[in-house]
């Protein structure tokens, strides 16, 4: 079980990113708990300066723009 956090104030790209995470996890057969972080303070404290940001098990792996689908699968399978 992995905890994935998607940081973003709730713009369209953040929604898309969260959906992409779920999709990638389903494809890899990894169980994930996707949490959307929308509070600006928490976003900033996580070190995300451009949204959407993505962290896997507490480690920030991406910030700014939609993540690349291939890279996303890499991050998800990497830290197991």
């Amino acid at each position: 079980m992995k905890t994935v956090k998607v940081y973003g104030p709730g713009c369209k790209r953040c929604e898309t990113t969260a959906a992409m995470v779920r999709e990638a996890a389903a494809k890899l057969g990894i169980e994930v708990d996707v949490e959307k972080v929308t509070d600006p303070r928490s976003i900033a404290m996580a070190g995300v300066m451009s949204t959407p940001g993505v962290s896997v098990n507490g480690k920030l792996v991406h910030s700014g723009g939609l993540p690349d689908a291939g890279r996303l699968e890499g991050w998800l399978s990497e830290s197991s």
């Binding site: 976003i43 404290m45 451009s50 949204t51 792996v61 991406h62 910030s63």
Partner: protein, 353 residues
């Protein structure tokens, strides 16, 4: 199984197909741009409307300007997407932290053009900057320049109005961002941040960001293509609507009306344009075709530029987003300082041109 094993060793793909593809696309672009004029003439010739009537002129404008602007946007947005892939908010922050005011404001406004920025991440970016020791005034220079001086606005001004006006917009947009940041810095308003932001500001170490990844040239091209897709997904409707409306103004609004309400003699038109621009919110694309048509009908350049800057740089939605980190007093100062700068530019242009 061999296939699977081979796949795990990822050889870097050759990049020459990308370079070739981009070069080919640029050539094709040049050809299209070159052919645009005659093609537009022929198209509007097909419509059974007198070329020299109001409707005919409006149509020619529509057939020629829409594709021209689209072509220009594609090229420049792609190029800027590639250039922006060399910048990131994290790098910009590292460059700016600890910079003194003055030089820091100039650098900050300049970086505002090239750093990828979207108003939806204005708040995390603001906190990221301030918590890393970027002075408040320098942060504001960035926040003003980033939305105001953008390539969509510049391309549309260049394509529809002329390079002189585009250059003036660039110079004065940067000037306002730098000066407003200097003024806000001098006022020492750090105390007017929301309490929780101040706490981060005055102690805690700056939160770290993502470790930078190396991008190949192909990745950068992909960034450019992504930027084009995004801009077009967002603005094409505005452009078409704006140019359509511009065409109507072009063809039907009587000349002396515009001279009277937006001409250089009506001094009050500049502040009126700024005030009108604040609640209006559209991206640069929607407003500029209207601007071009207004100029064509004798509205004064300064008034029109002031209107445009106000619409783009002072937007109510962005203020509402920033309200999470700034107190109302600080937002009021921000609006006041930026609006004064825009007013000054408006008056200056009306006097000079």
């Amino acid at each position: 199984m061999n296939v699977g094993a081979a796949r795990t060793i990822r050889r870097p793909r050759p990049e020459w197909p990308w370079h070739l593809g981009v070069a080919g696309a640029v050539l094709l672009w040049g050809l299209l741009y070159h052919l645009l004029g005659p093609l537009a003439e022929r198209l509007s010739g097909q419509v059974p409307v007198n070329r020299h009537s109001h409707a005919g002129e409006a149509l020619a404008f529509f057939f020629y300007d829409v594709p021209k602007v689209m072509l220009l946007l594609t090229l420049i947005v792609f190029a800027m997407g590639v250039v922006r892939s060399y910048f990131s908010p994290e790098k910009t922050r590292a460059l700016l932290s600890g910079k003194r005011e003055g030089a820091g404001n100039v650098l900050s406004a300049g970086l505002g053009i090239f750093t990828p920025f979207c108003s939806c991440s204005a708040v995390p970016l603001f906190i990221g900057f301030v918590s890393a020791g970027v002075p408040l005034g320098v942060t504001f220079s960035f926040l003003i320049a980033a939305p105001m001086v953008n390539e969509v606005a510049l391309v549309l001004l260049f394509g529809l109005v002329g390079w002189q006006v585009a250059l003036a917009y660039l110079a004065f947009g940067l000037g306002i961002a730098i000066l407003a940041g200097v003024v806000i810095g001098k006022l020492r308003l750090e105390g007017w941040l929301q309490d929780w932001v101040r706490e981060i500001h005055s102690g805690a170490a700056a939160p770290g960001g993502v470790a930078g990844k190396r991008l190949s040239m192909a990745d950068r091209y992909r960034h450019g293509i992504e930027a084009v897709r995004e801009i077009f997904g967002k603005v094409w409707l505005w452009i078409v609507l704006g140019i359509g409306l511009g065409a109507v103004i072009h063809g039907y609004v009587p000349e002396d009306l515009m001279v009277r309400i937006m001409g250089a003699d009506a001094w009050w038109s500049v502040p009126a344009a700024v005030i009108l621009g604040i609640p209006m919110y559209t991206n640069a694309a929607g407003v500029i075709p209207i601007v071009e048509a207004l100029l064509g009908k004798g509205a004064a350049l300064g008034t029109v530029l002031a209107f445009m800057m106000s619409v783009i740089a002072l937007s109510l939605p962005e203020m509402i987003i920033l309200r999470q980190v700034l107190t109302l007093r600080l937002i009021a100062v921000f609006i006041g300082v930026v609006a004064s700068g825009i007013l000054a530019v408006g008056f200056l242009f009306n006097v000079l041109f």
